[in-house]
């Protein structure tokens, strides 16, 4: 296995060397055969002739030996790709249309799916995200948010300490971060509990994350953690740990940088700076809050930590599935004082009763939390459906275009089938062309899709807040791209209806030449060939005024009508006598890039075609046409 792999790789990397080996082996075989025949009393000429006859087509033998290795598959693929590229180059209009249609069709889907995936489906880049649950009790009395007060959060945290850690976060605030000697830079901040990062199970990119010791300011001020992208953007590096700064006029110390890709737990909204909840006590950091209002002991100017009437924290817990029921019961019990307090702001009646009897419920937070995520789900789904429809319509149109194009190439396929190409070979060629188009279109789609998803994100952002999602290419997005490319190839290739194609029934046709040939593998098919060595038996071709034979497969290999070694073609046109001088010209008609050098009139006198009007027909009985072994 390994030996075969190495030998194949070597043959692929040094094809000339491998071909020379095959050629040498074949020559050695021929010489041994000639020697043997000389010993048996033949003349040298007879011996050579007999040996050549015995070997048959040397090109075919070369091809068979080459095909014995796995590398011939790779070689065929490359050959198919080259042919496909040539075909597409010859139809630039079709190629450009198809590539653009695919780039737009797949790109639009990738763009929307990237957004949909990042916003709705991608799990948070944290440990065991499926255990994260948003803890919700009653909505705050005026703003209707799932806020709790700081004392309520502490009770929730204590209720399940040990088996279901609870963390809290505030809303976002806008501030300015000022480094020593530098102008203040805008910075969005979020206050979080000291266990925010540890509950999430996030590891820092640099320094450390917040911990219990950060409940109070240290020597350099309040400990803060920067978002990776923010640190890079502001400082060009994440190596900023230990630096001091001033945030909203409060001294802070950068203790660490969150890992790349970690944007917090609120989908779309990533703070630049995380700082402890306790920093609110400085009075310099505001955040969205709700309260019972005047008359309930609410003092906004004083620290919120001790005030049960100010609701400003969202609570998230890490709770294993089998602990959820017990945890919910304990949290519901722990929240009773707060529910009673909240009920004070609700008029007597059914609504008050509802608040008083509220139970805690959990919402999965594995893929993030936040209002934007909930609000954007339907629009994103609709956009996705629209993009899907664009893709399907594009594919169907391309399928039709392809069908029309293949219909126009009927003649080419007929020629190839006459040359001995199997239906599978033709289908493979079409598939390769489609695959090539799709890969180019797909690659373009990845680029345009990524750019478009960024544009969509900007479009969905508000002036105040640019949405921030992790838009890096992910496996599901890649899988969708590949899946769509595969679907495009299927639609592309299903359209042609290759199955219905039949080889031409008659070799001759009115006023124009026909081709007779073979592929190396097909047995019993007429073949026109002359060995490259020159010493071999020249074989046949004939007819019309343009009969021609090709020296080896090279001309056709490079030509438009075939790509298999051993194949050759005769092309004749018009009426009249055999004109050897014109053979090169005729062969040049077949050979796309000057394969006329591979043509020879040498076999004309031996040629056995019968001339029927303008057509040429090679018969199996022809002495110069060998049957496959």
């Amino acid at each position: 296995m390994l030996r075969s792999l190495i030998a194949g790789m070597r043959a692929l990397l040094h094809p000339a060397e491998r071909k020379a080996q095959i050629e040498e082996e074949l020559r050695s075989f021929l010489e041994a055969s000639v020697d043997d025949k000389l010993r048996s009393g033949m003349s040298r000429d007879e011996a050579r002739r007999a040996a050549h006859k015995e070997i048959g087509s040397r090109e075919m033998v070369r091809h068979k030996v080459w095909s014995a290795g796995w590398e011939s598959w790779v070689d065929s693929l490359v050959r198919d790709l080259r042919l496909a590229a040539r075909q597409l180059r010859n139809s630039p209009g079709f190629a450009v249309t198809a590539v653009l249609a695919l780039a737009i069709g797949i790109g639009a889907n990738l763009a929307v799916f990237q957004l949909l995936y990042s916003a709705m489906l991608a799990p948070l880049p944290v440990a065991r995200p499926q255990e994260l649950m948003s803890v919700r009790g009653a909505k705050s009395p005026y703003d209707g948010q799932w806020f709790v007060s700081d004392p309520a959060y502490e009770r929730l945290r204590q209720a399940t300490a040990g088996y279901a850690p609870v963390m809290a976060r505030s809303g976002f605030g806008a501030g300015a971060l000022e480094m020593q000697g530098a102008a203040p830079q805008p910075a969005r901040y979020q206050m979080v509990s000291d266990n925010f990062f540890s509950v999430l199970g996030v590891k820092p990119a640099a320094g450390r994350l917040l911990e219990a010791s950060d409940l109070r300011p240290g020597g350099g001020g309040w400990a803060v953690v920067l978002r990776y992208g923010y640190a890079l953007r502001q400082f060009g590096t994440v190596d900023v740990v230990g630096r001091y700064a001033v945030l909203n006029g409060v001294p802070v110390s950068i203790v660490g940088v969150a890992p790349e890709g970690f944007l917090g737990v609120v989908t779309g909204y990533a703070p630049d700076v995380w700082l402890p909840l306790e920093a609110q006590s400085t009075g310099k950091f505001g955040a969205w809050f709700d309260s019972l209002g005047p008359g309930h002991g609410v003092h906004l100017g004083q620290p919120w930590a001790e005030q049960a009437g100010i609701f400003w924290l969202w609570v998230t817990a890490r709770v294993p599935a089998d602990e959820r029921a017990a945890a919910v019961a304990r949290w519901t019990a722990a929240l009773q004082p707060d529910l009673r307090l909240m009920a004070e702001a609700v008029p007597n009646g059914q609504a008050k009763e509802a608040v008083l009897h509220t139970g805690v419920h959990l919402i999965a937070a594995a893929a993030g939390e936040g209002q934007w995520r909930e609000d954007s789900s339907l629009p994103l789904m609709l956009l996705m459906a629209l993009a899907g429809a664009v893709f399907v319509a594009g594919c169907l149109n391309l399928g039709n275009l392809q069908a029309a194009r293949l219909s126009a190439r009927e003649g080419e396929f007929s020629v190839r089938m006459s040359l001995g190409a199997s239906r599978w070979q033709l289908l493979r060629q079409v598939l390769t062309e489609d695959l090539l188009l799709t890969v180019i279109g797909g690659a373009l789609a990845v680029v345009t899709g990524h750019a478009a998803s960024e544009v969509l994100l900007r479009w969905a952002s508000t002036r105040d807040w640019v949405l921030n999602l992790d838009m890096r290419m992910s496996a599901p997005v890649l899988a969708l791209g590949v899946g769509m490319m595969a679907a495009a190839v299927c639609v592309f290739s299903a359209a042609p209806g290759m199955a219905g194609r039949e080889p031409p029934k008659d070799c001759g046709c009115e006023g124009e030449a026909r081709v007779c040939g073979r592929s190396a593998e097909r047995e019993g098919t007429a073949m026109v060939e002359r060995d490259a060595g020159g010493a071999g038996e020249p074989v046949s071709a004939a007819g019309g005024d343009g009969g021609v034979l090709c020296e080896d497969s090279g001309a056709l290999e490079r030509g438009e009508y075939g790509n298999g070694p051993g194949a050759c073609a005769v092309h004749a046109r018009g009426h009249g006598a055999w004109v050897p001088e014109r053979t090169a010209e005729s062969c040049g008609g077949i050979s796309h890039d000057g394969g006329a050098s591979g043509c020879s009139a040498g076999g004309a006198e031996r040629g056995g075609g019968d001339v029927r009007g303008a057509g040429v027909r090679m018969e199996h009985e022809d002495p110069c046409i060998r049957k496959g072994e």
Binding site: R3, S4, A7, G8, I22, E24, E25, L26, S28, F29, E31, A32, S33, D35, D36, E54, I55, G56, S57, M60, V61, K64, V65, S67, A68, G69, K627, E629
Partner: protein, 109 residues
């Protein structure tokens, strides 16, 4: 091609090559000639079949090829059976015997 087929039974070429090489190292033409002679002309191996078979056998490690001077002082690639080739030959021979015996029993039944 005559009325009687000179085609090998499918899948037996490699076994015959291994068997031929079990006696001594040979070059490609020598192998073809030996098979033709031993089979009394029944089997004639075309290089289009033989050379790919030799290539496959060499890659699978059953034979080893090296360029040497032939009896006529020409450069020729000589093939030698390897230990793996000998084992493969024994196995293929056993399998062949079983198949031939089974076919004979069917034909005689």
């Amino acid at each position: 091609m005559g009325a009687e087929s000179r085609d090998l039974v499918q899948g037996t070429l490699e076994m015959l090559v291994l068997k031929t090489l079990a006696l001594e190292s040979m070059h490609g033409y020598g192998i073809a000639l030996r098979i033709e002679q031993v089979s009394k002309g029944v089997f004639r191996i075309n290089p289009g079949s033989l050379l790919p078979a030799l290539s496959r056998l060499e890659r699978s490690g059953r034979i080893r090829g090296e360029w040497r001077a032939s009896e006529n002082n020409r450069r020729a690639r000589y093939y030698t059976l390897t230990a793996a080739g000998r084992r493969a030959l024994e196995q293929e021979c056993r399998q062949w015997d079983r198949q031939v015996a089974a076919i004979s029993r069917i034909l005689e039944a």
